[in-house]
Symmetry: D2
Subunit: 472 residues, 4 copies
């Protein structure tokens, strides 16, 4: 996969050692962002902050978690859309305002960020980071209204796009999801306390109970008096991101009220119906293709096999430019098992094709390991358009399906046949919501809203370059 | 699994950018040792050394790999048997002697290490590390004989136990494997150069061709005139470590001339014959149980399912002592998928049981996720005795099978039934070598040689404690 | 001395490798602040920033200086008034505003900082640091006016207190000094370029020519068309800080148009007239008392001697709590020379007494080394009041002279006699400016302006605590 | 000065928190070596080691000092003669031998090191470092003899050259000084415990009492039964290094039973007699010329002045190659005071001239600051020969006095006159020992012993290059 999720968020209210729960929650959400991680906790009126670039396991340690005192905390893992290693961009963001202190963790992209930014700057606002999420803090600081929720309603009314956010204040936790509900956000309970998370796998790890989704357009306000639900005053039909089911979410999560693994298996079964082929075995590109491959094998009756093995120790890898090693980066991560593939007709299940370069390398590695035929089956439709709602897609012209037919793609990636799951087939097998509740813009270009400031989710123009020593 | 491999070795002779190949080879062998990594390269008469504690991806970077000049290199990854973070113990070890400079990378344990160590010390030898491998350097330095090979023969004649070693000298590479051949060691070719590695997966990554195993008791000497084979002057029957097939080696490796994945699948099939049970699905403890689970499913006709998902970002994890999270460390790594397990009778395939504590947690996590029945099947016989030949086993009394019957173990770990593969069944399905060629001491206590200095592979008594700042 | 200067500033316009000159300038100004250091440079419209806690020699290296491209730069060294290790407080501060990007380096304290801060916060401004200097950026961002200078004039009209500042913009350099001129600021030339610095020693090191002081209340604007001078629209009599002459400035600097070393010698001569005593030798507390001691010896005719030697390698020192070493921290830094002091009547010249604890230790160390009599002479008047204009003084009640007479102080610090320089005597020997041009508030309590927000130069109330790993 | 001392040693026996005292002692001895520092402590039979490159204040912290348990400790500060950053060369060295564990700290150079090294290597010895000091450990390990002292006597009988050493064993402390006594070594007492140190300033800091020098050729053995004195079985006349008085030792130390400051003042007085000149002031190159300048001023009646000021914050400094700053490195460290020098005839006292380049820059800087005449006076004789006994001198051809007359040197360094102290004059003013007790080889070439292995105090030939990440 060449798509990257941009963030995971997590929030805790009213639990002992909140920061530790938050740390564990981020640990479970690590797949949603590996560039940086942060936690802000609250004890009394004091906010405590730990954030840095790196994996959750690199950023946190027993000492700094112990520093994060209190029974409330919010956390964030981030994949950055830019190469920028500006530490100021690491979330949660926080500031003191005349309404008190706030910390914000945000998953998604605001599609009118630049427009608002220009207005705020004209009014003399000084920006500290270069990410769209800071706009929410400025709006909150300037908002009129008697309560935190009223000020948030008036602030969110101004922003457009995707946001699943956690806000920590003195002394409350807010969870809000944009009216389209682009990105997931779930509510849980642990003892008397509340948990908010991007995915349920984070609830599982800390043994919290899954309560329900935070609804599209909902603001949940939690304080010592319990939970209250409010609405963002904007009316639209929900448009969930279907790629959470295809690739992003962990298979053990429940997303949009359905098991991700089961949905993926169903994608595989439907794919077997739509693109059957005679072969000796079905294999997955591990691990993202595992569930769909099982579904395909089940439906087709062709045996499931492990045709590639995954190296569990892939960190930063490099290779000297002089070395000529074909398909090196595929092999580092995934090594084909010759004894399985040799002389076999192989159905290979992958979750998607973005640029096509990775698929090409994988097909070629499987053939080099001795496979007689390779039939590539993709458990999602062809990706033809960029996302503006929180997924980092390459530009349209880099998306192989935006300019090539399926046959031309097959020619490019190699192998004997290629089949994609249809949009209709994909949405049919999802049970919890009707087909109309999903955003399919990346497949068919039907964007649920007009995107004002395309790609302007960071304000690099305002940037003053802070030196950062690179590790290598 | 609670057993730990102690090392992986890799050697390159006559290849451009040897250190880079070595780095890639160690990358592929990372599963054999995660505590430290090192490379020594040779250019002209100069040896270059990079070694440190940490993963291969942490120890090496483009800058220090570039520092490792030359067309020859040996490397090592290590899992240490002690908590000792003494940097002097990181391999390859190296020294100048009156016969020139040597660097040594060693996988295995010398079972008369302490006896030799005491003699050398009486003669005034100063030891720089506390590992048995240093003995080989001292013996080489003191050995008489006209050639490097003669001196090595006379040195290795004195040591007993397990050793698969690479020695880099001016200007040659030696690969040697103890007469029993306890640990694997294979020979490969890349262009005109030679490669030596613990497993074939390291050859695959660098696109070297697998030639053959280094034979038990063989010394391979490679210099500019090519390769020559010599014998260690000791005569015994080979005794390969069967645990390489059960657990240690990567499934995509060929070990003892056979595909590890295929052997594991055969273990699974045999296990289904020996311990059949009626159930709704077969699942593996990922990823070590995957191959055997596929074999079990195939043989039994019961569907294979993904019942647990693996977190790919497990690094150092910790949890505050105050947090009460049941089976936390299992869940961090492996999360059961409720939608798969709920209400099902489940056959769970794991590779082995050491102390039983981990199995107990896994069974309990699977039941907590809703499974109706759990039938645990182990693709190896009960482990009852410690290893002295390169695997870090707990003391005998910690091995659950040393003091409990299978029924008692079932009672301890929980679930509805438990079945182990038999020794006979296990050895039957291995095709490349007869049953007599494998060491089964950990199962039946039949040690191939008398172990003189039990457990004395490190000389901590001689240790002078060097302060090392801990990261946490 | 227990007083601490809070900052040094440096600016370069129109010189090749401006950042390197800036780095050298900060190097020369290191005595004015050792907590953190930073440089912002300008190339085209790009600002480059390097800043960190630590000494100049620790923060900068050839790599990060090379990163700081351009022919303009400003720099800052800082001694922080709080224990706060918040990296956001390290100067120069910078931001983009609707009038373009600005970087600011500030020496001094704004005495109505908190009042302005509250107003800005009410207007929705978000603060990124907790230092008063950030107020200048917010005011500049909100200011109306056609030019940078007009907006600066209207901004500075609102702030009260001490500021010697450098502002770097696109593409100009501004140097400004508050109407009282509390802290020094000088203008220099290097080739066709301009230099601004806290002291002339920084000009010497980079071989710039000293032009003149930036005048109290002056705004100097430098761009490609050269230098223009403006006024801050506030009328007052100058009040220079006399402690620059007594202690802060380097002896090789020219400050307030006079040689610091010569002024200190003159203090010593006057002190000999005011407090003569019969003795065998005159010695200084090195190195801050050196100049005055020479003056005292010259005037009195008593020989000058080296009675204490200074350890040049004093970094962070600590001592285990169990160790009982009398006057340890004095001895680490300054060791008495027994052979010089033994049996002698000694006149000891120090620059000032703050709490009295250090003087007590020094007198006691000199007596312990064998001196027969100790006559302590202080080359400044008794300090009785805190400073609000850029010097970090302890609270009034910690100042020994605020509650004790000279005789009581003598009793406390020990020795045989004690004499302080008089205010009148001190100001008499300064030639370049009349006595009325100096602030003597710390001696006589005559503050030149009403201080509105006493001690509120940092806004810790707004602080959100960012975790910082301590080195020890 | 361009000469560099190579080491300082310190030892403690029978004092609570020995490592902390050792740390403080090394702190006081920091001027003798700034490259690396180390301490080995002893508790029961356990040795604890902390060592690293860097200043004492950088290497040690409360945490690692606390790690160094026990009532015995030895320490070492080192200036390395090579660029080698091999951590294995940092002292104290240590090893276990058949006679128990030893740690060794060594100041000096063994002049037959290479010869012994070759023999040991032939016998199969493996070397761990590349410094001559390791030879002592090997000899001790191989020595025959009933006691530690006997074995040390037979070991030291074999080595030639300079050594002031501390050896820590189980459970004793040995201090030994070579028969010539090239380098200083003193004995002190603290409570019931014993202290050994290179200079008395280290005793002062920890409030130990100075007892006496360790005599040339003496071995002092200290254990729980107290102190015993033995002889190294070699008979020669002492030859103390006179440069300790001229430059190396701290002025507050007593070395060779005399106050260093007083000896330097006497050098200055004698210099005034030998090379009088009419002038307005006498100034020192701070701080190494301070004492002699005071003596010169006293004898000549010409006033002493501070003509240069020292920057206290000189760490690593660099300058971009593009910058043209005359005499930059002099100015960074020492800035002339214009107001003092302008129009004056100046006598400048420096301790020595090595290559002449630094003196040239200083004279030029003083003239540039306005001095009318510069008369350079050197408080030691011309250096014409390299040292082989523990001081790092450049090669003979780099020593300006080896090839130029005094007049030619004057021409090179600039100024109006130049005068060196005579050898005779220098030795006359030393009172505690006769002229014959001092080594004057660097002035007159009379080496006290035949140097066998010139310059071979490190065995870089045996070196295997260990990668070390450079900070810059």
């Amino acid at each position: 996969m060449g798509l990257k999720e941009e963030c995971g968020v997590f929030g805790v209210f009213g639990c002992k050692d909140a920061a530790n729960l938050c740390y564990l929650g981020l640990y479970a959400l690590q797949h949603r962002g590996q560039e940086s991680a942060g936690i802000v906790s609250l004890e009394g009126k004091n906010f405590y902050v730990v954030k840095d670039s790196g994996l959750v396991s690199e950023v946190f340690n027993p000492k700094n978690i112990a520093y994060l005192k209190g029974t409330e905390a919010i956390g964030h893992v981030r994949y950055s859309t830019t190469g920028s290693n500006d530490k100021n961009n690491i979330q949660p963001l926080y500031s003191k305002t005349s309404h008190g202190k706030y910390a914000v963790a945000h998953n998604g992209n605001l599609t009118n960020a630049f427009t608002i930014y220009k207005t705020l700057e004209q009014e003399g606002a000084l920006f500290h980071s270069t990410v769209d999420s800071e706009i929410i803090l400025h709006l909150l600081s300037r908002a009129k209204g008697a309560t935190h929720v009223e000020r948030l309603q008036s602030s969110l009314k101004q922003v457009e796009g995707a946001y699943s956010i956690c806000i920590l204040g003195e002394k409350f936790l807010i969870a809000a999801r944009d009216p389209f509900g682009f990105r997931p956000l779930v509510l849980g309970k642990k003892g008397d306390g509340y948990i908010v998370a991007s995915e349920t796998c984070a609830l599982d790890l800390i043994e919290a109970t899954y309560v329900r989704e935070v609804e599209p357009g909902e603001i949940i306000f939690i304080d010592k008096d319990g939970l209250q639900s409010y609405k963002i005053p904007v009316k639209v039909t929900p448009k969930f991101c279907v790629f959470e089911h295809i690739y992003f979410a962990r298979p053990d999560s429940v997303v949009y009220s359905e098991s991700v693994h089961e949905v993926r298996k169903a994608f595989g079964r439907k794919l077997a119906q739509e693109h059957p082929v005679d072969a000796d075995l079905v294999m997955a590109i591990p691990d993202s293709g595992n569930s769909a491959a099982l579904g395909y094998a089940e439906e087709s009756g062709i045996p499931y096999e492990v045709g590639m093995t995954r190296n569990h120790y892939v960190g930063r890898t490099f290779i000297q430019p002089q070395q000529k090693i074909r398909d090196f980066f595929v092999k580092v991560k995934l090594n084909p098992i010759r004894s399985v593939l040799k002389g076999k007709r192989v159905i290979v299940i992958d979750d998607s094709i973005v640029r096509g370069t990775t698929s090409k390398k994988r097909v070629s590695a499987i053939l080099a390991a001795g496979a007689k035929e390779v039939h590539l089956r993709i458990s999602s439709p062809p990706i033809r358009n960029p996302c503006h709602f929180g997924i980092d897609t390459p530009k349209r012209e880099k998306l192989i399906a935006s300019k090539k037919t399926v046959n031309e793609i097959l020619e490019y990636v190699g192998g004997d046949s290629l089949g994609y799951l249809s949009i209709k087939g994909m949405l049919e097998v999802i049970k919890a919501y009707p087909a109309s509740s999903f955003c399919t813009a990346c497949f068919d270009g039907k964007y649920p809203l007009k995107v004002k400031d395309k790609g302007k989710y960071t304000f690099e123009g305002r940037k003053i370059k802070l030196y950062a020593e690179k590790t290598n």
